[in-house]
Amino acid sequence: MSTYSDPPSGSFQLSMLINDTRYRSYTFQFVALLLLVLGMAYLGWNLVQNLAAAGLNISYQFLGEPAGYDINQTLIPYTSQSSHWQASMVGVLNTLLVAFLGCIMATIIGVAVGVLRLSNNWIVRQLMSIYVEIFRNVPVLVWILIIMAIFIAVLPQPRDFRGDDAEASMFLNAFAFTGRGFYSPAPIFGPGSGVVVAVFLASIAGIFALRNYATKALYQRGQLIPTLWPSIALFFIPAILAFYIMGRPIGLEYPELRGFNFQGGVFMRNSLIALWFALSIYTAAFIAENVRAGILAVSKGQTEAAASLGMRPNRIMNLVVLPQALRVIIPPLISQYLNLTKNSSLAIAVGYMDLTGTLGGITLNQTGRAIECIVLLMLFYLTISLVISALMNVYNNAVKLKER
């Protein structure tokens, strides 16, 4: 209800700024904009004043200067002589790493719990709802700290593995669960290992081809070819054969207690595990609820209709219930991923060097460039969340049920 172009042709009066629907909204918007600009200007002016008083300025030059500190977990080459920018990149990758691992694990646990909450087994149902209620009603920070505390207080430290009658020993002589993290053997690729890897990749391609072929066979000839066991066989057998034929080119490097720590093998730091695990179980509690709601949202009539067409329960699940449930589940699932990513900034509580730990932590402190660092930090998270919501919109539009 705003503009009438024709009837009133009288001259403009000031009161029309408030009383005339044509101008009123301009007036309001102008006032709002003015207030906003004034507010911004006021804050900006304060900033300038305060910076001047403290003799500081805003500059991003520090990003190019050597960071000077070391980071324990780096996915890209980094030394204390690398720049603050590189340190931030290490942080970005660490954030993405824990977020990625967390999303996967949270999905697995969450889907399992959500499905089990609908199980017809009473005890399991009760256990699962206890799990969900306990985990989502306690702050995730508490879970992170508890898991970290378990590492510090309960698990044996490397020194406990030392000596002849050590208090702790390695599992299968290959895996060590220590208070500092988890050590496991790492593969070493010897000559000829390329062939094994290639065979393995080929058999994965083979699995896809097999499934493709099976669908085709069903569609074209009405022949139902089993895929599960052949896929499993295809997954393992060719690679194992190749492994022995090539003379076992891939060896394992076992972690070994040398000096202060275990050396060799793959090391997963306690801070990463604590953060990863806590974020996963916390988020999984929410995902479980989404999954449950999604499955319940598919009406019983759908299952019955499918059953009365002669379909077996697992087919009904795959062909009828899941495709519909997923549309309901995926949007909240993605926002849970987003939450998990944002919550990963709590890394700082256990000293995991994600972006909040590097750029927002040590760099900020050592350089004193608080404003600059926090602006960059926020930009990073903002970018992630914008990207994720854009993806979500694309998905929502793609799967929207067609309506009249």
Binding site: E304, A305, A307, L309, G310, R312, K402
Partner: protein, 256 residues
């Protein structure tokens, strides 16, 4: 026409045999001592007040609900907890629900071909031909590539019928197929069902459409409180009900 249909198709072969069947929900006795023989080609209409167990009865036939006492034999197969038997019976018996229960994420055509492909292992091409055949029969071949949400209620119910037919059932069960529809649409669906009846399909139909019952049924069964209270040929049933409850019910239904 009704007379003609009756004479034409009923054979002596038994399609469904229910003996002394009882069912409880918890301790609530929903179906009591049901005895019923349906011959091949028969069209039976089941009527009765709400909660009398009509839906439960036909859902038992399809093993959507299990019964606790007595026996149900469909097409010579005894309905037991054996999965094989259940599967066999379900593929013999088609069912149409009150709320259509089409799969909203699949097109009309996919709705119709899903079960033939995955259960009957019909090649896709062939399944589509069959589906188009039945869609043509229910007069909506042109909607094949739309989604259920894009159709009217009457069209959706006709798709549901076509979907059942694609499995080539020998028996069709209908549970109030028209009660969720607007008046204009009821007719389209009933027409489809009449056509089906004329082809000799064995049908059990829960409905309150007495016109339909008169036109196509061989037999009307009246249920109350989980029991079969009265059964008779339609004309007799409507004109000369015997049981008090039947009379009361008919006076309500027809007066309305």
């Amino acid at each position: 026409m009704a007379e003609q249909a009756q004479e034409l198709t009923v054979s002596d072969e038994v399609a469904i045999q229910i003996n002394n069947m009882n069912k409880w929900y918890g301790s609530f006795h929903v179906l009591r001592d049901i005895d019923l023989t349906v011959y091949r080609g028969e069209r039976i209409v089941i009527a009765g007040p709400s909660g009398s167990g009509k839906s439960t009865l036909i859902r038992c036939i399809n093993a959507l609900e299990e019964h606790q006492k007595g026996s149900i034999t469909v097409d010579g197969t005894l309905l037991s907890s054996d999965l094989k038997n259940i599967d066999r019976i379900r593929s013999e018996v088609g069912m149409v629900f009150q709320h259509f229960n089409l799969f909203p994420h699949l097109t009309i055509l996919e709705n119709c071909t899903l079960a033939p492909i995955w259960v009957r292992k019909t090649p896709k091409k062939e399944a589509e031909d069959i589906a188009m055949h039945f869609l043509t029969k229910v007069k909506i071949p042109d909607q094949a590539n739309k989604y259920p949400g894009q159709l009217s209620g009457g069209q959706q119910q006709r798709v549901a019928i076509a979907r059942s037919l694609c499995m080539r059932p020998r028996i069709m069960l209908f549970d109030e197929p028209t009660s969720a529809l607007d008046p204009e649409m009821i007719k389209e669906v009933l027409d489809t069902m009449v056509e089906l009846a004329e082809e000799g399909m064995t049908m059990l139909c829960v409905t309150h459409e007495m016109g339909f019952a008169r036109q196509v049924a061989n037999r009307v069964i009246f249920m109350d409180a989980g029991q079969i209270v009265e059964q008779n040929e339609p004309e007799e049933f409507f004109n000369n009900p015997q049981n008090e409850r039947t009379k009361l019910f008919l006076s309500q239904i027809l007066g309305h």
